[in-house]
Point group: C2
Chain length 246, copies 2
């Protein structure tokens, strides 16, 4: 059965899960999968996902574009490897942490940091995780709830809830921050004041007026993230109490 399903899989998965065949003879490689993936991640970090092309990547590695295809079956494959490698290892928890809230908070904050360092990850994710790197993060998140009375389905639901929030918040911060010049956040505020007609968008106009979009009215983007996360975890707490009573 394993072989049966392995044949249908993207090549990258078989490599990531250690199913690559060992090769003895042949020319000594000047390139390696690790070097390629690391260079691709660096390129995407520095210049954005749009700047990541096989040609530019080869240039950075000092090789010809087609050389890359000896180690990667295509660009999709490469991106799968990138998604696996970029996040690094998740924080470690025991099987049943006493303080689920602290653990889950730490998990979320660290993942938030990963997404801020590698904004392209969020743009790239398009299917549920199937690589060891992402599954390790998923497993760590599930473990934070090991001490709670939630069943596995509810735990998964909670983890996805947090995951979605972290991704959305990171994407928002990234898109607002990533602009070239200094007054980027201010630029969005200016746009809204320009367009938020109180007659057409009453609530929005009031919010703009209240300075919600003003750059750094007090708390930074990182604090905003924590505030939303706390709201979310309050909800999880309610669910846990309910499950404990049942």
């Amino acid at each position: 059965m394993p072989d049966d399903i392995a044949d249908e899989l993207p090549h990258a998965l078989n490599v990531l899960w250690g199913r690559a065949k060992p090769k003895g003879r042949g020319r000594t490689p000047a390139l390696s999968l690790e070097r390629i993936v690391a260079a691709a991640i660096a390129l995407a970090d520095e210049e954005g996902l749009a700047a990541l092309s096989m040609a530019r990547l080869a240039e950075r590695l000092g090789c010809a574009p087609m050389s890359l295809y000896r180690h990667v079956t295509g660009k999709d494959d490469l991106q799968l490897f990138m998604l696996d490698a970029a996040p690094g290892p998740p924080p470690e928890f025991g099987t049943a942490p006493a303080d689920w809230r602290g653990a889950l908070t730490r998990w979320a904050v660290e993942l938030f940091g990963v997404y801020l360092r590698h904004p392209w990850i969020v743009q790239l994710v398009s299917s549920p995780p199937v690589d060891p790197g992402q599954l390790a993060w998923l497993d760590a998140a599930l473990r934070t709830l090991g001490g709670t009375p939630l069943d596995w389905r509810a735990r998964f639901s909670v983890v996805m809830l947090v995951l979605h929030y972290v991704r959305g918040a990171a994407q928002l911060v990234t898109s607002v921050t990533a602009e070239p010049e200094e007054g980027a956040d201010g630029a969005y505020a200016a746009l809204l004041t320009e367009f938020a007609d109180p007659g057409r968008f009453p609530a929005l106009a009031r919010a703009v007026e209240a300075g919600v979009f003003a750059p750094q009215a007090g708390p930074g983007p990182d604090d905003d993230f924590r505030v939303g996360l706390d709201h979310l975890l309050d909800g999880v707490g309610v669910a846990i109490e309910r499950a404990a009573r049942a």
Copy 2:
């Protein structure tokens, strides 16, 4: 000031906000912005965002590729128009609905439906909304909280929380459902059972074992969405009670 900022803006925004100049004379247009945008949306709906190219779009409209550029400055512009038009109008609420939870739930469910009908929207969003269509949705969401004691900053935080969740959930459902063959959801479950080694990913292995990823173990994806949303709104309820006491 308006002109000053308008010149720096993407062309699409000036059109969307009604700042286009009226044109009297000249050849009668065979194409129109509305037809182009509608065709682009239909194409993206049917064949996915990757299939949306200026050439294929022109083919579908029965015109030459370059003709499109008379109505749209480029592909980015076109996508901005698509993002504005595709969601349609948001549900209507008064300025201060008595039942914030019902209103916000309705808003979330309808937006979820929009994302399921147009999965490409989630992939396309890369910056805060600046077009009338999306701002209308944002305004509607803010209005659902009009009767609560939350200040504007907190309301915005809650709305973004819900928005992130809706997007994430929709993307997940889409990516799992969109696969060609019948057993797509089952395929993911099969992959996980294959790879979720209990030694390496203990929590994940237990979850798989518990049938969390089994296709339709009972509730459908729509119910999963509602469950997560309820958790989330529980948290919002806590915040509202806290604000009421203060």
